[in-house]
Symmetry: D2
Subunit: 386 residues, 4 copies
């Protein structure tokens, strides 16, 4: 096994990006259950994100979602973050929540709607310029519900046109991250349904266009770590939207549904050289029934534990068993790392950085939950606004 | 093949129940797109349902959803329906849209919440008494999102207790229809996830407890017609919630995603003697992006066409081929009926009843859409209120 | 957490049943790869099973498959087992490998084929009488490939008739275990496709008919621990066929694909009182590309590790968090047990019983693999004979 | 709707390729049921294929599978085909049925095994030279069963190297068709699991490398027509392996499980200009329980009927409704074509070509089945030899 000190060094360099919207209310089409103390605006979301960073030490970045996080002064928001030990991360565009988008946004049959959507994407790049964000994350809800509803191929043409226009608009240090999703909210076709479609578009756009893997956006049974390995081999893995699922896009806490899968994904990341800054480790979750801040702390810890286990894999022994065709031996090397309890090692790492060994317990002790419950009365709680 | 006259006679006896909520707005967790002319209250929903009946002639029943269709005077609502050639159908209980139900309703760990939910179910039975409805349709959103969150078995005990109390409360002519659903809105366990669970509970309740098959509520690949055949054999098929799906519970127009599956289901219904009043043929759909009334008309027609094809199956030839072990011959008999274009036969049937041959075209000619767009301005459009 | 001594005591009482056929060759429809040293007959299979027991100490039972394990003298086979510290377990009937069974066995449209199948089932009961086996495990490959091919309901009638005849034939101490399977080898309908169907039949048969859960026989996304909890609650869980899967019925080593799922299943077993003799913990696996004996040792260890973790769950804390509606707290209690490395505890337990701490390493040191490679040359290797 | 004469003209140009192996025995891992009259060698397979062509008139090509169809003189085999109105189609390589391929072929960790596999691929190109075949169809069973077993990325490198070597070896008029498959026979990773992987490799190889879509090789819920539309847009659709499935890779008769899906696929083919010679319409099926020749005739008819319906789609009306955002109108245009009974039109088309209107009935009248049952006694029936 890898030496604990090397594991700790590698872990210290990891940085996890939490999503502003996960601090707000979310739900299913059946019901959004309100919770006490939920932020009313982006400033309060960042205050909550600072708590996650305070107790975990590895979550110094917050992603924004526009227009949910629209403010008058993005530079001020960036300063607000900075003062709390955070920086602003990916800008997530939203072209699915206005009535014009009923039949799509950049793939819509009507050029006027496409133009409106494109303008929003340009606005997001403007915001990136103001916040210093590197990544523009594009997820399109575009698709169709009924066979025949629209022309699959024509929609691809429209998509390609919009992506090219946005890519053109990006600065040299900025990236376009294209996310794919198997289905939802469209139920027959989705215009970017799989990694292959996202990859094909990114390939044509250029080096600064890369694919985002949302771990909840695949068909049942899909081998996600395989996709991760492929994209890393092609130099096209831009980042992750982490969460977990039992069925569809459940958006549960990452690692909650299948911790072994998360470990396997991190093994490919580590093995493929993806643990550097080129791959953004973002969360994209919904805490519909559980309190949000501790759920996000737990999620950050889950990513960290999986990363630690992946770092522990004895790569030399693994490679030797693989080369020898020793099926059970190679599998045993992997499982040995997975079966190791890395919590003591992570507690040590935290202690070395002056953090409490158990971030969730530390959060509960901190009184923050009581404080926001008290202070955030009145106003309109932040949410998806669906 | 069966004689067209016999097919027409059987079709004339079929009655399809449309859901009041399908006339209102609906959407996904990402967005509810408002449409023009949508009803503002149950009275207007019934007005729309009357249009479906007017043009199809086989949809004389409307199901209600409480509290979405709460009115002061249910007898008046029943008269409103009757004056429009309709009657009120199943009462659908809703125990998933109040903040108390965050962790479930009748399966909730807290007895006070369970009591509240049970009171609502009793209220629904009171409404049935007032409307003359035969069926209480129970779908529970109950479940858990995370492993360990609650005790699976204890929740079954609570469920059984609530069902027994409701069953006890029913009149002699009233039925309890228990619906199962694979997942959503709960993402780890669902307390009634499959027909087996619903069946086991109904068996213990008694003869007037039966299972509802929602065609969108199954795991990928599930053979629904098999379940239909089994439940009919056990005398436990209470009805259908028809819709169609490509992925999860998409709630698309029935027959839109897999018309061959709908035909196979209707073949089992016809073959198993389910085409009588004991099986309720209900729709349960969401018309998120398409206009609602013509979508419901189309859905009713799709059920009717599938039924017509199922009635056309040459049962004698089918039985002979099956007994002889003639795989291709038996399959060919079934496919012969499916491949038949039954639209001319249905046009004839409508003409014989004084209806226009093409219900959708007739609806469009009727001017109703323009009329409601004009008249239903202002007010709060009906919807799920999630 | 539960005290280690209590965990060890409970673990000592567990007994895992290995399948004779897993020691022989197996493969996919594309290829059966032969391996060196594979047994040529049931006697040699039992010799291999004895090695698994020798190194793990918790696998003293071997299941037989008839006719693959047909011998002239079953009492002699039982003695052969006993001399090696084993006893014979479930008798698995095979009514799918003769040309007459092309369209099914007990559900076949032709009464003569049904009679032939039933005679085989009776023969299996005779063998049980000779071997002292308690359980008759029935898995039927019956089903259809094409819509219309046969009558779903008539096949259920035939199935019910056959099951009743077999049940009638059983002795007072013998059980009928009915296994369900989602699909394969039939591709359109399967006559016992889900737990609901198996349960409904067992219910009518009587107390000594129970359901077997094969962990690889479900639709994608099915919550298996839910089914386990339900069957335990109904007193109808007869046992498991353990294995693991990523896609269909992959028959990989149990715990290899989703160790967290295996843990959750064992949590329900422990919580539902299923860790006694009433539930048979059987393996049903195919080691197509890996050496068979160490794969089975690993599988036994995987079940044991999952059981240990399930026993470690702090039930009191779990119950308290569940009652309080503390979603994250309850989940954390469960995860705490799962994240614990139980390998040291199991090594201790083995040492206390005079076993080597690492059964796989001990097997490799034993020289058995080399011995059988040398001694089992010539002859016909055992396999499925498809 | 399109004029029937134009539909007939387009249909006359379609040519469907039947697979030699579908005339031989096949089965599942549980059992291969032998049938009477099955061919014993490639010459007899071609005799059977000639019957399919004789009665359908649109199946003049037969694909070969090496080594199952190995003969001493391929030119003689080509003449044998030609004398029966057929020509030889794609050469299908088989690098999965020798013991060396237990851990893969071109992706195997051992260079010697990779070399052996590559030599076989070269041999297939030699055979193409001899038979005049245009297409080399490559499907690799390569993959792994257990996490850690081998390095995902290293296997991609090996795959890329082998593909490049084969591509290099092809003549100017020859193509490499790369097939992907979701899973089976490998159960954890498959080295070419999806269209994206196949596409990425073909892109690097060059213009004469294209993707094959086997309709049974996708994850549950995958929208296959979307992939077809994308590949046509990219100029990378080399052909189809048609069959149908309810669950995994069931290899049932094409159109048997979901005729509406087959229609939608053919709509994309027609709309995307794929109905020319550039796309090979191949069958790849297993007739495990039904007689093979009539099953293949039925399959050819199913493709033809779906094509006819796709040609009937009123493209002008469809485009108008799509542009106008008329969801229900556009869907109705598509469904109108699907609901049309095209069997009379196809009967006419056959009559115009001097064929019997019902190919299956004509086959049964021909006496061929009785003749081969009588003449093909003794010898070794052809099969997969797994």
């Amino acid at each position: 096994m890898t030496a604990p000190s090397a594991v700790k060094a590698a872990l210290s360099s990891q940085s996890i990006e939490t999503p502003s919207w996960a601090y707000g209310n979310s739900g299913t089409r059946f019901k959004v259950f309100a919770q006490e103390g939920v932020p009313r605006d982006p400033w309060e979301k960042i205050d909550d994100a600072a708590q996650v960073q305070r107790h975990t030490g590895v979550a110094p970045v917050v992603a924004l979602h526009i227009p949910w996080d629209k403010v008058d002064d993005y530079a001020a928001l960036a300063r607000h973050a900075e003062e709390r030990g955070l920086r602003l991360g990916a800008i997530n565009a939203n072209v699915f929540q206005e009535d014009e988008y009923r039949l799509g946004s950049v793939c819509h049959p009507d050029a006027a709607v496409r133009r409106k959507a494109l303008d929003h994407l340009f606005e997001c790049v403007d915001i990136m310029d103001a916040t210093g964000s590197r990544d523009l994350k594009l997820w399109f809800a575009d698709g169709t519900n009924y066979p025949g509803q629209d022309d699959i191929r024509a929609r691809q043409d429209r998509l390609a046109e919009a992506l090219a226009a946005v890519y053109e608009r990006l600065g040299e240090e900025q990236r376009l991250l294209l996310e794919y999703k198997f289905f939802e909210p469209a139920f027959y076709t989705t215009d970017v349904p799989d990694w292959g479609t996202a990859y094909a578009h990114c390939l044509k756009l250029g080096d600064r266009a890369e694919v985002v893997v949302d771990t909840g956006h695949h068909a049942p049974g899909t081998n996600i770590e395989f996709i991760v390995a492929l994209l890393l081999r092609e130099g096209k893995l831009g980042g992750f939207d982490f969460n977990s699922r039992f069925y569809a896009d459940d958006d549960l806490m990452v690692g909650a549904a299948d911790p072994f899968q998360l470990f396997r994904i991190m093994c490919e990341v580590v093995g493929g050289g993806g643990l550097g800054p080129g791959v953004a480790f973002m969360l994209d979750q919904c805490h519909n029934i559980e309190p949000k801040i501790p759920a996000i702390i737990r999620s950050v810890m889950n990513v960290q534990e999986a990363t630690a286990k992946a770092l522990l894999v004895d790569r030399e022994a693994l490679g030797a068993a693989q080369s020898a065709g020793d099926v059970l031996g190679a599998n045993a090397v992997l499982m040995d790392a997975f079966n190791t309890d890395v919590r003591p090692l992570l507690a040590e790492l935290r202690a070395e950085s002056g953090l409490a060994p158990d971030p969730v317990a530390a959060y509960h002790r901190s009184g923050w939950a009581e404080q926001i419950t008290e202070n955030r009365k009145g106003g309109q709680q932040a949410g998806w606004g669906a």
